[in-house]
Amino acid sequence: MKMFTMSADVLVIGGGLSGLNAAMGAAENGASVMIVDKGKIERSGSIGGGVDHFLAYLNEGEDWDTADSFLQYVEKVGRGTAHMSIIEKTYCEELEDSIERMARIGNPLTQPDGSFYRTASMGQPGPYWINFNGKLLKPCLGNAVRKLGCKALAKTMIVDLLTHHGEVVGALGFHIRTGNFYVIHAKATIVSTGNTNRLFENPRGNPFNTWLCPYDTGDGQVMAAAAGAKLANMEYMRMTLLPKGFSAPGFNALTGMGGRFMNGLGEYYMEKNHPAGNKAPRYEIVFQSLEEKRQGRGPLYIDCRHLNEEDITHLKTTLGYDKDTLPDYLEQRHEDLATDPVEINISEGMQAGPTEVTGSGVKIDGDCASNVPGLYACGDAADHNRCVHGAITGGYRSGKSAAKFAAGRNFFADPDTVSTEERADEFIAPLKRGSGYPYRQLEDSVRRIMQENVGPMRSEHGLNTALTKLTRLEKHLDDMKVEDLHELMRSQETRSILEVGKISATAALYRKESRNKPYHYRLDYPETDDENWCGLVAVQKSGDAYECSFDPIKYVA
């Protein structure tokens, strides 16, 4: 086991969509950049295989197509889960450049004929969803950042942030194949590790069968919290709707093109129960779908049989953009969108933004800065950059901010935490241990505790039970035994997942109301209480425990 020391002005932890945009933002603003990823940047993260949607107003003339209209929509759907001022800075101010940047790196958001293909869904006043072919978006971004001189460490997992007098000064990582360690000194660090998956039980049985990247396990959120950063919106358990058996994205495309939700009795249940029908906000559709299943009216379907041939063709092509293997899945399952209603189910739960426009994670300001000097966050690891549009715009923003901060620092500070050699030895202990529990056993336990107590229906008793059990389970993390470095990585992910569980339950306990049901649904406080609870619950580490505080947001329904 060797230890290497490296340095860069800006360290980007997580080379997904937001991380690579952050790297561009930093590099194009004068910083030297090091990107670290557990995979390879060309195909890592939630949209590694492709993506098909980007939410935007384009100022093409209609009333709804403006920043003001868009922010009104965000406010309405967000319902107190984001500051509009931060959305304005991290998204609106970066939007035009971001659309142009995607074109100049080789993956424009337009159709081959140069126009934008736009669709509406989820309660939008106009077609904000730009539909595009993003199958090569990550490879194009990978190419762009390498051309800018950014260094990328592949198959490398960051284990800890390094701090000096309360500032973040870099990170410690290990290589999944060689077992070598890297001490990376950085003047500014950006956490872009995505949301947390494998946190709740999976209806498909396999914890890796997830909607977003299963290898995104909240590592960044947990490290940021350990360094003193506040996290926000961690109480929301995000869920969505997916094809039965395969946790694949495609919901935007299906609802955008006009799919109708149908139950086992042939009733179009969204049209029956919600004024916006099939175009209602996602959490409303999830809520109603859960109700339908609870009351025994499953199976559930999305019915696209009524669409015309042109739309069906477009839909079938687009589904392969958002998930490369979804067309294969439908084919191998003998389901044809044109002639069959496609069976759907509710997804696994995850720690992620409560809407497609408001996020969850490290609490950031308009420059994507956390409250810890030298620490930034973007994408799904941050609380204000949701989805593809937030990752691209917020990512770039965080890079710019980090570069500026780094420019004001003319030295690399030495970390004042425990020696990195000691930490490395401690980290590889599960490999050297004679016997112990497989990581999977403990991780399954976390999922069970979360599903039972921090799931789509919650109560004070349940949430306290979750905290008690997670704290008890935590003591056994040091009894894990792994066979190889790959499993060592997984066992570290297990630690992050458990920690996110604790943070989530803590925030859910604090918020004594319900909001964006079923993402935070307290049976003991079933109503939404805008007077007292419109805003963000911030969680911060205090000794061994987490403390909550409230950041109010003014919102008038």
Partner: protein, 87 residues
């Protein structure tokens, strides 16, 4: 298996191993039995590189399809397991 390699087309470039986001594809010396999948189809004389890929952590495959997309020889197919297809 979620991802299947056609060793009659594969040239052992290792790109799938390098880019898999989940670190579930590894390389093994060609000619040896696949330790996980017991897949001995074909001979490997055409493979210039000394190693070939195999799916080491089959249950952790996310079915993202990136290996298939980027294989320069189109040697990878995606096969969904029966429990997913029949769910």
């Amino acid at each position: 298996m979620p991802v299947e390699f056609d060793y009659s087309i594969c040239e052992g470039c290792g790109e799938c191993d390098a880019l898999c986001p989940g670190d579930v594809i590894y390389m093994r010396p060609r000619g040896e039995a696949d330790p996980v999948n017991d897949n001995l189809s074909g001979t490997y004389d055409h493979i210039k590189k000394p190693k070939v890929p195999y799916l080491k952590y089959t249950e952790e495959c996310w079915h993202c399809g990136s290996c298939r997309q980027d294989c320069p020889n189109e040697a990878i197919t995606v096969v969904f397991p029966p429990d997913m297809l029949c769910m």
